[in-house]
Symmetry: D2
Subunit: 353 residues, 4 copies
């Protein structure tokens, strides 16, 4: 079913943009774990609307309200459920987009799938706001992974045409969360911010790519064929709105390489078998090789823009012009970074536990 995923760590996400609350139920967490709430809140804050230094969109604190799953401050084996109350649901009039679907959004497909009964307010269940409970679950997964020696890193690989330096696939990877933007090359921070600002002034939006690395994954995790690490991450990642592609290791670029270039030769470092290069991105045959797992995720530009766009009236079956008012986040990529980390953490955690 669409909102539940995972085998040994199962998450069920619920809520709509303007329902009373959104939330998540996490099954399978080990009992006895004390969540570091400060770190969890800090992680979730990176996703919250205010996280984009340029964003003036909806302000939500995204503070999770844990209603079950703990006893004496620790996980108790019961499913952990957290709510995030929707306080800022201004009673805006959505009747125009109910009848006239927004280009690039799920308004039209949802209308057709649910016979017009879909919740249109704020995007309903298709809203990016649903990544808040995903990040809640992912933030806990990150803490549990750390106990196993696994760390997840990520950076903004690109925004529109501004590119950060790519990761050295061999690592090491750096924690970039203290920077104004999570990028490797400080020189691109202003360029990216300008790009976003430029798009905003243009009443437009921009997309981008997030690169993620998972370091410390032991060799031998994952399964062949349909349950490999790539399959698992991919199935999760397309649950984040606006994702249109994913690639592992060298990814699409590997398609232009020779086998002799792309094959990663084995070597011995200390007592361990490693590869000299990491074009395979830490996964061979769906199974972890012990090398860093690296993948990139493409985000299309936010479809919410205030420019007039052509659409159709569903009731009248005639073409017309749609104008969406209000302030829109011109670039969701910054806020998408912790979402990608959350996905990475959730995919790996259930393989390790």
């Amino acid at each position: 079913m669409s909102n539940t995923i995972g085998d040994r760590i199962k998450i069920t996400i619920f809520g709509q943009s303007h329902s009373r609350a959104i939330g998540v139920t996490i099954e399978g967490l080990p009992a006895g774990f004390a969540i570091d709430e400060d770190r969890l809140l800090a992680f979730m804050a990176r996703r919250a609307p205010g996280s984009n230094p340029l964003s003036t969109a909806r302000k939500e604190t995204d503070e999770p309200d844990i209603i079950s799953g703990l006893a004496g401050g620790r996980t108790c084996g019961a499913p952990l459920t957290a709510l995030i109350w929707n306080n800022d649901t201004r009673s805006k009039d959505y009747s125009n987009i109910k009848d006239m679907p927004r280009p690039g959004h799920a308004d039209y497909t949802a209308y057709m799938k649910y016979g017009g009964y879909n919740d249109i307010a704020g995007g309903g269940q298709f809203s990016g706001r649903l990544t808040a409970p995903l990040c809640f679950a992912g933030g806990i997964a990150l803490q549990l992974l750390e106990l196993e020696g696994v760390r997840v890193y990520s950076h903004i690989y690109s925004i529109e045409n501004v590119k950060d330096d790519p990761y050295d696939l061999m690592g090491p990877f750096e924690d970039l969360t203290e920077k104004k933007l999570p990028v490797i090359n400080n020189d691109v921070i202003d360029k990216m911010l300008h790009t976003i600002e430029y798009a905003r002034n243009d009443v437009d939006s921009v997309g981008g790519i997030v690169e993620c690395a998972i370091d410390g994954v032991p060799v031998g995790l994952g399964e062949p064929m349909f349950d490999g690490i790539e399959n698992r991450i991919a199935k999760l990642i397309f649950g984040i709105p606006a994702v249109k592609g994913i690639e592992f290791g060298r990814g699409f670029a590997a398609a232009s390489l020779r086998g002799s270039e792309n094959n990663d030769e084995f070597c011995i470092e200390g007592e361990e078998i490693r590869t000299r290069t990491n074009n395979h991105g830490g996964i061979l045959g769906g199974i972890s090789s012990g090398m860093p797992i690296v993948f990139r995720t493409a985000f299309k530009p936010t479809p919410s823009i205030s420019r007039p766009q052509q659409s159709v009236s569903l009731s009248k079956m005639e073409e017309g012009t749609l104008e969406i008012h209000g302030r829109h986040d011109p670039c969701i990529v910054i806020r998408a970074v912790p979402c990608v980390e959350a996905v990475a953490a959730l995919a790996i955690l259930e393989l390790i536990l």
Copy 2:
């Protein structure tokens, strides 16, 4: 579990490269369907080792042997199981690669996962040969989809640096199976073949990209979040060996676009709502829009090359040089084309039934 996938059409693939047989069990097929065996064999033949006009690798006819699931020549509601016997399993000596894993293969990760008990012969369960039962299942799915007005098309988007023309995302799409290579632009056929031939003479291999279009999918199929059409296709596609990336619609290129460029405006054509462009690749919010579903899959170059490569002896824990003898297919991309179609068909079929 790794070899089983699907909800309403469930396939379970089994076998190793050199086990007595490989095969697949398909659950959920509608009863009363008469498989067109000639078309199925023709489809599977496109995947068989002989399908590459330049390939001189292992010859297998891949003839499926249906052992259950039919009554009176039609599906009967019981799971359909087909075997493909492994006749050409020359008793080659695999002891060298058992001890010295091949770069780019799953030899090392499988060794570690299965404590050295993995079947190394011919790549064991990680062999590309396991795509034969996938194509058997996919070939049947394609026939069932046709009854629903859905057709799957694909072409070789690129081999190494030789690029075919891309699909017009709006369609229409053409059946290219009669051509020497399934490409749109006939001028690239010889270039691609030369590229492969050149790699072969160089004792090397090349990768490539396959582009696939699914036409005729009605609007409203798929689910939000983790069970969208993208999630489903992605989870399946990484079950094909050598896949390192997937993108939908404009895919990674959308990350460089503005929202105003990437958003597909709605219009009315005849009695139907459509979009003027198809950057979204037929999927919005995980749900089909009625426009063609288009995606691209990146294949890394075959890791099997006969050049000497550095590896390590697992028993001695020392570095050494590995030479793999025998003939290798220098480009699996041609044979991968029907595999991609099979995945597309299986992903969509269970949404339509």
Copy 3:
């Protein structure tokens, strides 16, 4: 995972007896349905602690608080999540049973499974209170089933040694909810109440059996082998605390019959094929026959009794005597009746939709 069940209608139940709230997320409900809240509350009230006319246990109104899944008062396609707040969680001292597990309860097994981190308060996640969200989901399922012409009936088949008349397996079945106890034979009402009262005065408890009938299920639902209607109902029913057995149609009694007695001969009634008897309880080969589906569920006596019982101190690893104070419901069977109906409804609903 343990708290999630279902394929097309998936429910995820969360919470502990004394967590801030308990609740359920329901995925897969058809969009556009307006829940009849009065009927739903009436259904849930049959399960609430006050429903036993003799019960003086914890008072909870069990009022569900729907926080997502609706738009404009109707289901909108998004998961429906409802909470039931735990108001009556008196801060009782549970330290004695934390160290000394209650006989017949899950205290000991939970302690061992969760390394002592399980929530002991009120039984934690093993509490019968978790059947409240199950009944919420089941109550909605019942309303949806009615639209399909399916009705679920049940009665108390027995309490301790007091037996109601059994159902005529052929039907018809009567709505007994207006009676003081849901039984067919009014003469047993007082006997059952006396039996319970007698057990209460004895500081003891009694078990019983619930018989359930599902009428109006069309022929041909369900699947062979592991996904038959019996498998589905059985997997759900053991999710209700205290259930120790289930039987369909003639059930265990069929084991003493001859084939010639137990086989149900086919006949024609009006335009329909039916059976003359219904020993098979409406299911043949896992698939509905169109006859009423009838099953019985055995509930052990509530393990919570105030008598002194022998147990062991987990910390000292020595035997000792445990006394549980407080008022206990001496017979949960009355309140179990709607739970059984909920299970029946949920199992059938996803086959019909």
Copy 4:
């Protein structure tokens, strides 16, 4: 899907009574295990048609043909697939029962579900013959469980009205496989055989009950709510044809007990916590208590009897008399014993691995 079950040990059963072969694919077996084939064959022989000393039904050796999943004689991590070829599929004429469904069989429900395309020959996919691959999988599970100190026992609890002594729920349990019938009380062997013989001479059949004990299961396995050990065993057990009920520990009898009688008090034996009685049958809250897991399964009498029975012609929609010729096993309970053990083993194995 109906023919696939299990999480960490997943089995997929395929085939029809008269298809070319039946078989099973087992995923998740630990790599490196050498199956003891002699013991496996001996186990499967208990299920084979010849196992009933009085049976003269179809003779099949049930010899499994392993076609994948092994390397060097040991499990290799790949799915293990075994076939059992159907040699004895006499080309009998099934047209009468195709049109006139047999009472008590799935002929009618399958006809309706599959639109008349179901395989009627020998019962198709509903045939008891499909328990042969179940026993193949279960026989391997039993061997793996033994390595973990877990043993599965069972006996014929009753045939028609002849009852064996029940198990002492506390154990110990005895291996009864060398006896003419697997019963505790030798005095009932002849009575049971006479009962069967009597039914056969009467052209009739008898049902019975099988009692099963799983000894050595460590405390703390299983999950709460819908994934408890009872839920798992129940979901599997109804996959065996003719099963109509299951009960754990004291089962239905517990419904007549007082809490003070049914509660099992804890005590200390040696260094271990145990219960003084085992009315709970080794499972509390879905989780193993370390005490023996005991359950009983009710089998209805075989519906296949040669007496004339009333049925209906599906084509003519008129009532008529059906006579099924051929020899029928008058009591499948004897052969069902290893099937029950197989289910027990499969349910527990995946919790232990």
